[in-house]
Amino acid sequence: MRDHSATVLDVANLKTVFNTRDGEVHAVNGVSFYLKPGELLGIVGESGSGKSVTMMSLLKLLPMPPAEIREGQIEFDGRDLRNVSDDDLRRIRGGEIGFVFQDPMTSLNPVFTVGFQLVEPLRLHMGLSKAEARKRAAELLELVGIPDAASRLKDYPHQFSGGMRQRVMIAIALACDPKVLIADEPTTALDVTIQAQILELVKELRQKLGMAIIWITHDLGVIAEIADRVAVMYAGQIVEHAEVKELFANPQHPYTRALLETLPRMGEARAARLPSIDGQPPNLDHAPTHCEFAPRCKHAFTRCRKENPKRFEVNPAHDVACFLAQSGGSTDA
């Protein structure tokens, strides 16, 4: 199973609930995962499956209230993140853990120059002098492939294209040599040709800097390309987790299988009809009491509607939360 000594981040049984006027929203329902130094963990799942809320919960980046972390342990580099002081948490945010948010336009401040936004964390977290910080800021922009970096420090975010803003975001997240970089859909809003540039950049940076990365996306193609391991989320839970090749070659959860089947493939003959998943994801107004995928699952049987399946290990590199997979295909239970 997992070797806890070798992890940089270890999250167990995380539960996050929003208390809204219309009642509770159970966004994260007992999520556990770990991250080893230098590796890239991909998180996939459709809109609303809890990918962003999970990651924001780690660093308390959510508005609380309405958000509330009900349960869970979060261990980062030997420290218990649920019980560190606010000061420590602030130091970790943007310092030891870099974050690239889903929307570059809302997360880059439009009234400050890009240079200022890079220099600030360097001074705050690394204690660099103004001159040192400016030098390092220019290096960082260069590192993420922005031409003429030094002279662009005085430009404002709107003077950069979408792809370049995303590079700037990555540069800011990398500024303080983080141990962990969390990238939330960093390429979803970009064109494929620009996405290809960013993916190349990330591969290069991993070799150069060696930090661990969590990469959130709904694009299985991106996952296939850059991830070492993958966690598939559905309705606020991880329903399957495996090494990337294993997941694509041997998917166990009916949801993962269906996702892989619905993908049209570029290189293959055209399918007469796309396999689709009927129905919709559940609303999250209560904690799961049964398999949340059951209403859409072709294989659902009695037990699925009574009990929420726990993750069970198919092999040491692969686990899945599904009764059918667990029983080896038998629906007698």
């Binding site: 294209s161 040709t193 290809a196 296939a224 070659a249």
Partner: protein, 328 residues
């Protein structure tokens, strides 16, 4: 179907759409965004023509021009024999029911204060003279056709999921029995698991009603699945057009090659083994396109001539068109 003679339902010739740029207190025109700058293509009856290209290259503008939602700057658009680029008033109104549009954002394109039933029947109020009962029956039929339960007719858009809202938009587009539908990124806002539902629905409806689609998308793998033929656009111009199979298997234009090679392949076993063409830089501004071939600032094969002469749009194989100086 395959052997039937190909008859163009829509013929676009040398279409131009330039948006003026105004500056200063006097609002003097100082230039123009050449969103669409001289493109020609046919859409054959019953086919799906895919239109792909990067953000801002002019895809939506083409779609809107073809439906005459803009006063075009130049060129002609012939639909079923009538040039609609110059039609106006009653003549244009009479032609409207034949052509419809499905939009990207199902949320934004539906009036939140109208029930689903009244949203779907709105075009009927405008263009048809039907009794209330006839309308109700027609709305029911349309809801059946797109797979929405009839009992939802009195609900409001916010009570539906994204995929269901897109079905409402499709039902409304079908209300007047159109022949031709422009689908502008109809699945971009939907989840992967819902996209396939909507794509299958579009295909079923095409078969059932003999529809012709112009399908605008930046999802190259979905276009591969849906389209009969594909047109690739870059900075206001077409760079390549051909049948989907040929274009995806053997793209000839350097931009098409780069674009297709950039699509991530959902197969980790092949990761790292695929030769990828990484384009440098960004798409130039359509207000100030580069001289010569507009792709020359990023083209890995560009030569001196490319920066001076604009390559002609010509047939490079049967039904296969491209604009590049260096394609045999």
């Amino acid at each position: 179907m395959l052997d039937a003679p190909k008859k163009p339902l829509v013929r676009v010739e040398n279409l131009k759409m330039h948006f003026p740029i105004f500056r200063g207190v006097l609002k003097r025109q100082v230039g123009a965004v050449k969103a669409v700058d001289g493109i020609s293509f046919d859409v054959f009856e019953g086919e799906t023509l895919g239109l792909v290209g990067e953000s801002g290259c002019g895809k939506s503008t083409v779609g809107r021009c073809v439906l005459r939602l803009y006063e075009v700057t130049g060129g002609s658009i012939t639909i079923d024999g009538t040039d609609i680029a110059t039609l106006s008033g009653a003549d244009l109104r009479a032609k409207r029911p034949e052509m419809q549009m499905i939009f990207q954002d199902p949320q934004a394109s539906l009036n939140p204060r109208m029930t689903v039933g009244s949203i779907i029947s709105e075009p009927l109020d405008e263009h048809e003279h039907m009794t209330r009962d006839e309308k109700r029956a027609k709305v029911g039929e349309l809801m059946d056709a797109v797979g929405l339960a009839r009992r939802f007719a009195d609900r409001y858009p916010h009570e539906f999921s994204g995929g269901q809202r897109q079905r409402i938009g499709i039902a409304r587009a079908l209300a007047l029995n159109p022949k031709f539908i422009v689908c502008d990124e109809p699945i971009a806002a939907l989840d992967v698991s819902i996209q396939a539902q909507v794509v299958n629905l579009l295909e079923d409806l095409q078969e059932k009603f003999g529809l012709t689609y112009l399908f605008i998308s930046h999802d190259l793998s979905m276009v591969r699945h849906l389209a009969t033929r594909v047109a690739v656009m870059y900075l206001g111009r077409l760079v390549e057009l051909g049948d989907a199979e040929t274009l995806y298997m053997a793209p000839r234009h350097p931009y098409t090659q780069a674009l297709l090679s950039a699509v991530p392949n959902p197969d980790p076993a092949q990761a790292g083994h695929i030769e990828r063409i990484i384009l440098e830089g960004d798409v130039p501004s359509p207000a100030n396109p580069p001289p010569g071939c507009t792709f020359s600032t990023r083209c890995p094969r560009a030569q001196a001539v490319c920066k001076q002469d604009s390559p002609a749009w010509r047939e490079i194989g049967e039904g296969h068109f491209a604009a590049c100086h260096f394609i045999e």
